[in-house]
Subunit: 186 residues, 2 copies
Amino acid sequence: MALNKFFLQFVNFNESELDQLNQLAKPEQISKGEALIKRGQVCDKLYFVTKGILRLGYTSEKGEEVVLDFVFQDSFAVDYVSFLLQQPTEMDIIAVQDCQLLSFERKSIHKLYEENIKFQKMGRLISEFYFIRFAERIKENSLPPKERYDKLVATNGELLQKIPQYLIASYLGISAEWLSKLRAKK
Amino acid sequence: MALNKFFLQFVNFNESELDQLNQLAKPEQISKGEALIKRGQVCDKLYFVTKGILRLGYTSEKGEEVVLDFVFQDSFAVDYVSFLLQQPTEMDIIAVQDCQLLSFERKSIHKLYEENIKFQKMGRLISEFYFIRFAERIKENSLPPKERYDKLVATNGELLQKIPQYLIASYLGISAEWLSKLRAKK
DNA sequence: GTAATTTCTTGAATTAGTTCAACAATAATA
DNA sequence: TATTATTGTTGAACTAATTCAAGAAATTAC
């Protein structure tokens, strides 16, 4: 099961510990275009994506939707900043396709942290995992759009085909038309 | 003292705990243009900047130096990814001006973590602090260069004047000439 | 205090990217 | 299957940004 596999990446849990984690998970679903989290809300849940793709971003002053990140299957959708600080998020998390999710309440996760240090360790390692992803993102952002696109295709090839190109263009910081022209070039 | 002030932001340490932290600190200095950390090294120290400014970045394939971040006085210079994973860094950290630093060895910090849970908490909160900075950076990167420049000036006004503009331009992802023209415009 | 080096500015030519509009292709719905 | 809505492509006119070269201004070294 993908969820357990995810946890086992970080800490060598035994069966009963995995059970404890699984018992916290509440199945949720959301259809294409709907928001999982909206600007202004406090993000007090983690959402494990069992199926579908979401995008994290915001609406600019000019009213354009800016995509900052995609969340694919088998990883967590969350605005970690809002989740950590328990303050209103500036982001929206929106389903790119119909999604199936498992939600974990912050409070119940924190309860586990206190019960067993292995859960605490998991929490720390997951934070670090996302931290490292962010650091990589900042570095990648310094590359020209074409290179960023090629890298994205190289690492997320198939999944990417399920995302409309105008969203990918927004993620890359270029217009949809220009991405189309870049793709046509080679 | 600025170092203690930094720690007290995160955890309410008593005097003896602050002493423990201070005893780990080894004064170092480095002159303008020199590297504190070079690509390929493992970053096994944290450096608190008591004086000066550093830049974190890398050399691209075309041989240009790309600036990803500035480290100002009273904060830590470190490649956190390399520090966390203890793997070779892909970054260089270079002094923009002569700097005075206090270095903290990873091993001795980890020793403190085990002795007293308050230190552990500090470690977590400092990680979160940088995590949040990274998240903000990713969002800022989505704005047009002029806006990013104005924001930078608004928050780091005086300090910024001590950094050559071609480095600021690199940080913003534009050429030095274009930054000069942008500045001239209004 | 002058020379040498580093940094900053300006202009001209070129490339990268945008906007808008029109149409083509694809997917969703009846 | 035909219809509608969403997504993708293309071209023309425009704006943003780069490169290169030259000179001006500011710093550093002697």
